[in-house]
Amino acid sequence: MNWMAIWVTVKLASLTSLALLAIGLPIAYWVTFSKWRWRFLVESIVALPLVLPPTVLGFYILVAIGPHSPLGRFYTELVGHPLPFTFEGLLLASILYSLPFAVQPFAAAFEQVDRRVIEASWTLGRSKVQTFFRVVMPLSTAGLVTGVVLSFAHTLGEFGVVLMVGGNIEGVTRTVSIDIYDEVQALNYAGAAKTALFLLIVSYAVLLVVYAMNRKVWSAWPQK
């Protein structure tokens, strides 16, 4: 088994879910509570990675962060090296690719929070930000866990985007799914089988957590 690839993958998936927690919460809050009539434009953009072929998404990201784009040039000037084919570039691509897997469960959870409870908090003098952390988030924990876990699992298995943006650099951007592809290309089926089984088990474990959370199998747990 290629432990280096596993390490790169787990690091990428963890950082992606963490970043999506930070970016996804405000987006989900806005999508849930905005009264803007063109809100669906933003919702559609967030959901785009669900239907777009990963190679298409990867291609656009590659062009957008490449040395010929203003963004790419700015990054190169700032850091000293271009963004494509680095771990940071791969992380950026993963965040965009998994965005709907975090934002949609978050938004669905926020939607379930009783508006009257939120309003009660406002009338008691608590600002919208305080209300978010004291009322909205604690009442959406299952949705928050689902979003984090799903974006983690989704990043574990990404292939097309990684290949387009990250390339296949050992120890930097070679993830588990690319490693399996390489092993199969080299006709090393035994190596591929071990890594594939590892990915299968991790993915299944992650989904167990999600479904168990939403069925409230742990409702006997003390609630805060």
Partner: protein, 361 residues
């Protein structure tokens, strides 16, 4: 500037008739105003606009010297800055906080010891001892209502807003809680605005009553004004109780109460003790008219009076009678002819004790 509440707003929801709320009344220390009307009349929208939870597209809301909303001057004070206590219809307690956590939620500006002290005061005032660590879902309806009220008044708001405070309770609890709530509001000495569709609640709580129907405020006045002297047929139909007069309990025997109203004795049913002040409420349709001096009936009340006015209402006629106090009766045109009633005629008005509703004030 005199202390008063002045509201004049228009709020439109897509596909519905606009809601106009125009209410103005002077504010004594603890005036409580009841927004009264059938469901769908717009009273909750007016209350939510006062709370800052709805933004009317046009209008002004002024509370004493502060302007909370003035659309022409682009003034929009947020609910956080209005210092109100708001209790929505289903209480909206925080399910993830304990009773203490709920009550202390709005006390963020106090130091922890002061907050604990205030919460303890509220627990005692609202008789929630022993439930401090309970979650809302473990409480009965009446307890939830007390927690919601305690949470609303704990930060010492300058105005208390209650949306149908008793509607989530079952009928038997409601009557007890109604009296408790009335006493608490008096004790708290807080100005309040209360939304209700129940006329007994309106008369229990209201110093001022604003009647709403079909999106408009139809009449604003004292309980007697609004109930006994409705401005038009629409108000009369909404309030549904034509006679509301003040009286005091003179005798109480096994739930049969004798009330003196301006020298006239009336028998009603109720638990009110001797000496208490009550509002006596009689629906015109419950009053039976007899020729003066006719025989015995099962009705406990036989009042002799003089007809002072006749107002046709469709197939019925409303007869106003002076029997020490103004009493309204509703009879058919045929009955009116049989009794040969006209202004100045003597008549006996009879009603069962159960039709004489007493509301403690």
């Amino acid at each position: 500037m005199a202390a008063e509440v002045a509201i004049d707003i228009t709020k439109t929801y897509p596909g519905r008739a606009p809601i106009h709320g125009a209410i103005r009344y002077p504010l004594d220390q603890a005036t409580s105003m009841v927004l009264f009307g059938p469901s769908g009349s717009g009273k909750t929208t007016v209350l939510r606009s006062i709370a800052g939870l709805e933004w009317p597209e046009r209008g002004t809301i002024r509370f004493i010297s502060r302007t909370w909303l003035d659309t022409s001057a682009r003034i929009r004070v947020t609910p956080q800055e209005r210092r109100i206590g708001y209790m929505p219809q289903d209480y909206a307690l925080f399910p993830h906080y304990t009773v203490e956590g709920n009550i202390g939620y709005g006390l963020g500006e106090l130091s922890p010891p002061d907050r604990a002290k205030r919460v303890a005061e509220m627990v005692e005032l609202f008789q929630l001892q022993g439930l401090e660590s309970a979650r809302p879902r473990e409480l009965s309806g009446g307890q939830q209502q007390r927690v919601a009220l305690a949470r609303a008044v704990a930060p010492r708001p300058q105005l208390l807003l209650l949306d149908e405070p008793l509607s989530a309770l079952d009928a038997s609890t409601r009557i007890k809680v109604r009296g408790d709530l009335r006493r608490l509001l008096t004790q708290l000495a807080l100005p309040s605005i209360i939304v209700t569709h129940d006329w007994t609640e309106a008369l229990t709580f209201g110093d001022v009553i604003a009647v709403m129907g079909a999106g408009d405020v139809l009449q604003v006045g004292s309980p007697q004004d609004v109930f006994s002297r409705p401005k038009n047929a629409q108000v009369a139909q909404i309030v549904g109780v034509e006679t509301v007069v003040e009286g005091s309990v003179i005798d109480q025997l096994n739930g049969l109460v004798t009330v003196g109203v301006n020298g006239t004795m009336l028998r009603g049913l109720g638990p009110e003790p001797v000496g208490s002040q009550v509002l006596v409420c009689i629906r015109a349709e419950d009053v039976v008219l007899e020729q003066a001096g006719s025989g015995m009936t099962s009705a406990r009340n036989h009042l002799i009076g003089t007809v002072t006015g006749l107002t046709p209402q469709g197939v019925m006629v409303q007869v106003m009678i002076d029997c020490g106090f103004p009493l309204a009766a509703l009879v058919t045109r045929g009955a009116l002819e049989d009794l040969t009633l006209r202004v100045g005629s003597k008549v006996t008005a009879a009603m069962k004790a159960g039709a004489v509703h007493l509301i403690a004030r």
